[in-house]
Amino acid sequence: MLFRLTDSAGQPRYLQLMQQIRHAIESGALNDGDQLPSIRTLAEELVVSPGTVTKAYTELEHEGLIAMHHGAGAFVCVSRRARRLGDRVQAARERVDELIDELRDDGLLDDEIRRLFEAGLLRAAAATRKR
């Protein structure tokens, strides 16, 4: 598996790495049981501080996407359910992207779109509570 970090400012590098690993798992490039490179190997490959890799792995372990076995390294662990969830998230992301494009075409600003989403979620949460 090849990872590459872009030099985009504004985001911690460990988050970039997490997204790439998550994407690799969701897209099927990494499968259940696959071993991830050791922290040292990946740090050297990407030329980033080992702390960056450690943090990404630790966070992904919290999310349950990988498991770290002391001394043996990190392994991908995705259940079928998690994979299906990944597929659903991927599909939802595409729908959200389409909707954003449409709203922008209608002349709405990103901030306005964001507020609409937030307000919509709040309304939905309030409705759920009432039920």
Binding site: S49, P50, D111
Partner: protein, 301 residues
């Protein structure tokens, strides 16, 4: 949290009447890569030389790996655990590369022979060549090899990438990352922002002898933002004298704010002021650095 590998309190150095370093309070966390940024003459080398006991502080105290920096007896023990790659790469010019490696290995019980020969090949250092005939880049690589093969607990480097070609820089960064993965704490001074931004965990900025910033790179990347807004009524800078605003510039209806945090509140304020557009974009370390060493410029238009 384990004890700091470098800790100073009120560290100062006066040359004549001018302060090279002024009341410096540093605390460097172990197991990480910490960058020490500053302009030329900001006090980076003076600080490092005080940490290593090479010059005495005028005032203040400090410890490195728990040992006092101004106690000559402890300073000797200290130098066994701390590897230092100086700006001028002190080496014996009359020795060959091979002799220099063998000579240095004798002083350190933990010397890694395998690592030394691997690095010798990797850096393509000519074993039989006299040190005096090495290029600047080769001298740096040799100094780095000698520092790494002793497996120090702390590696201190003063402007290590100075004079290296792009491949040399890459090898240097890889070496620092690998060294950190072995458990060595790395502290290096530099004014090469791009290199610093690639490998560092923590950023310390020194300016005119004072510590101007000490923050994790993740934190900086998350919190600093530029907010650009168009305010049809004309921006009122005093509306934006608020926490987080580091710089504010206006031109006509446009306003540009560089903020170190509190971005949501700044955006909300812009919206209240009737902004027709608001854009929030990331700020790179170069700009953060330049902003940190600039005098306060909020009032400036």
């Amino acid at each position: 949290m384990s004890a700091a590998v470098i800790e100073t309190a009120g560290l100062s150095k006066l040359y004549g009447r001018s302060h090279a370093v002024r009341n410096l309070n540093l605390s460097v966390t172990p197991g990480r890569i910490t960058a020490f940024l500053g302009l030329n003459g900001a006090g980076k080398s003076t600080t490092i030389r005080m940490l290593l006991g090479m010059i005495r502080p005028t005032e203040g105290t400090g410890t490195v790996l728990g040992r006092s920096i101004d106690d000559p007896a402890q300073s000797v023990a200290l130098r066994a655990d701390v590897a230092y790659v100086s700006e001028d790469k002190r080496l014996y010019n009359y020795m060959t590369v091979e002799q220099m490696v063998r000579f240095t290995s004798g002083f350190f019980p933990g010397w890694r022979e395998d690592l030394a020969s691997a690095l010798l090949r990797r850096y393509e250092l000519p074993a039989k060549r006299k040190v005096r005939h090495l290029s600047k880049g080769m001298r740096t690589k040799l100094a780095l090899l000698l520092a790494i093969a002793r497996r120090p607990a702390l590696l201190i480097l003063d402007e290590p990438s100075e004079g290296l070609d792009p491949r040399g820089v890459e090898q240097l960064l890889e070496a620092l990352v690998a060294q950190c993965a072995e458990g060595t704490s790395v502290f290096f001074s530099s004014h090469q922002i791009e290199e610093v931004e690639r490998i560092s965990d923590q950023i310390c900025i020194i300016h005119q002898g004072r510590l101007a910033m000490d923050a994790s790179l993740d934190e900086l990347r998350t919190s600093w933002r530029r907010v650009d807004a168009v305010l049809p009524g004309g921006p009122q800078p005093h509306d934006f004298t608020m926490r987080g605003v580091e710089r504010l510039r206006t031109r006509g209806q446009q306003m540009s704010v560089v903020a170190s945090g509190n971005v949501d509140a700044i955006v909300a304020r812009a919206r209240e002021s009737g902004a027709s557009t608001i854009d929030v974009t990331p700020v790179g370390l170069r700009e953060i650095f330049l902003q940190t060493i600039e005098p306060d410029s909020i009032a400036e238009n």
